[in-house]
């Protein structure tokens, strides 16, 4: 299934994928578009990344997604790459899977047996593997609208702007009267799927932002990680970077929330 082609065509060029049949869905206009419906932002699977990046609806309603989009690849990649394509490709180092996981997005797939909605927690099954069945097509992704007083950040460490990050973090905090009422953290690059930092989220809920709190959150978020190693970083290095990214990401999100409420 060919959407934006920014991952599939390299796989074809390198002969890592050799499909007998390739179906181009670029001509299906109904699969593209951004709309706000019932407290959610619904994004068609074929919506190009640059379109979502320039969307006022996304910027106003799903600020975490808006923060992540400019970090995807390079400008020429976002000209063609699609929201649904990135999420169906499910690269654990990519930005959008972490955003979807942090916000508990919903994936709408359609197939011969009808339509079903899959929560983000069940969508990512492994490296480049989702729970979509072979006879199903991802048609749209639904992101919940951010509450008032939400602060977000997408923080990542990469060797070069636009590269896949060594480790990245999607953070969304709701600050009610200076107290964190909801914390959502999802890491990229530390496993074969994007990882929610549940232990850190539990710690943060009900607390006031502080350096000590964020240090402890970084410890809890990374305690059970067993990241992969490659030429960009050993498992130990990735774990160290992950802890730093959690501290910085939380600080940035808290500052972002404070700025929003002024």
């Amino acid at each position: 299934m060919l959407a934006g082609g920014q991952s599939l065509i390299p796989l074809l060029a390198l002969r890592l994928a050799r499909p007998a049949v390739l179906i181009d869905i670029n001509g299906i206009d109904e699969l593209s578009g951004v709309s706000a419906i019932d407290g959610r932002v619904v994004i068609g699977a074929m919506t190009r990344e640059y379109v979502a990046e320039e969307s006022g609806t996304v910027a106003d309603t799903v600020p975490l997604l808006a923060a992540a989009l400019p970090l995807i690849g390079h400008e020429a990649i976002r000209s063609r790459g699609t929201i649904g394509g990135s999420l169906a490709h499910a690269d654990p180092a990519a930005e959008l899977p972490a955003v979807a996981r942090a916000l508990d997005a919903e994936f709408v797939v359609r197939g011969l047996s009808g339509e079903r909605v899959i929560p983000a927690a069940e969508w990512f099954e492994g490296y480049l593997t989702t729970s979509r069945r072979p006879d199903e097509l991802l048609v749209e992704v639904r992101f919940p609208a951010a509450e008032d007083d939400t602060g977000v950040s997408f923080h990542e460490v990469a060797r070069r702007h636009g590269d896949f990050a060594i480790v990245g973090l999607a953070t969304s905090l709701v600050l009610s009267g200076g107290v964190i009422s909801d914390a959502r953290l999802a890491l990229t690059g530390v496993s074969d799927v994007p990882v929610r930092a549940a232990a850190a989220e539990e710690l943060l809920a009900g607390e006031r932002p502080s350096t000590e709190l964020f240090d402890e959150a970084a410890r809890r978020a990374t305690a059970d990680l067993d990241p992969p190693g490659d030429l960009h970083g050993s498992p130990g290095y990735r774990k160290t970077v992950a802890a730093a990214v959690v501290r910085r990401g939380l600080r940035a999100a808290a500052d972002n929330a404070a700025k929003g409420s002024n």
Partner: protein, 173 residues
């Protein structure tokens, strides 16, 4: 084979590429527009960057048949219109990059020029950091990048000078 019609550098072109052929190979092999260079062939080096309907894209990451009905600009289309029809001379960005010694072997140059053209079109007042980020998806193995950044900055500056001059002359009776 599929018959396609598209606009390339302002002219209507037709072709019958195999469905599997990339836009980069179609431009080079079928239309003889060999200014578009093919480096890595999997979307990493940026040498094959062209402008599709106003946006920079990697022509090696698109199939030629997907460009049917679209408007493509390649490096050949950037030179200003000449007196005898066709394209002659250098555009502002090309001249500024020439003046800044932005090229050595020249292999990556078309990709850099196309990416910078698209970027300056949307961000005419870009600063050095923004230009660095915009060009971070293009690889050059000769220059060390500084001279390329210098060239794009110089082009932005010259474009500003031109822009500032034009309204003045209009306002004066």
């Amino acid at each position: 084979m599929a018959d396609i019609t598209l606009r390339v550098n302002g002219a209507t072109r037709t072709g019958s590429p195999e469905a599997r052929k990339t836009l980069a190979d179609f431009l080079r092999d079928d239309l003889n527009l060999t200014g578009t260079h093919v480096g890595c062939e999997h979307g990493v080096c940026g040498a094959c960057t062209v402008i599709l309907d106003g946006r920079a894209v990697r022509s090696c990451l698109m199939l030629a048949v997907q460009a049917a009905g679209r408007e493509v600009t390649t490096i050949e289309g950037l030179a200003p219109d000449g007196e005898h029809g066709g394209h002659e001379g250098l555009g502002t960005l090309q001249q500024a990059m020439w003046d800044s010694h932005s090229f050595q072997c020249g292999f990556c140059t078309p990709g850099f020029v196309m990416q910078a053209t698209a970027f300056l079109g949307d961000h005419p007042d870009a600063d050095e950091q923004q230009i660095r980020e915009a060009l971070s998806g293009n690889i050059c193995r000769c220059t060390g990048y500084q001279s390329i950044i210098d060239g794009v900055l110089l082009a932005a500056q010259r474009n500003r000078t031109l822009r500032n001059r034009e309204p003045l002359s209009e306002e004066r009776p």
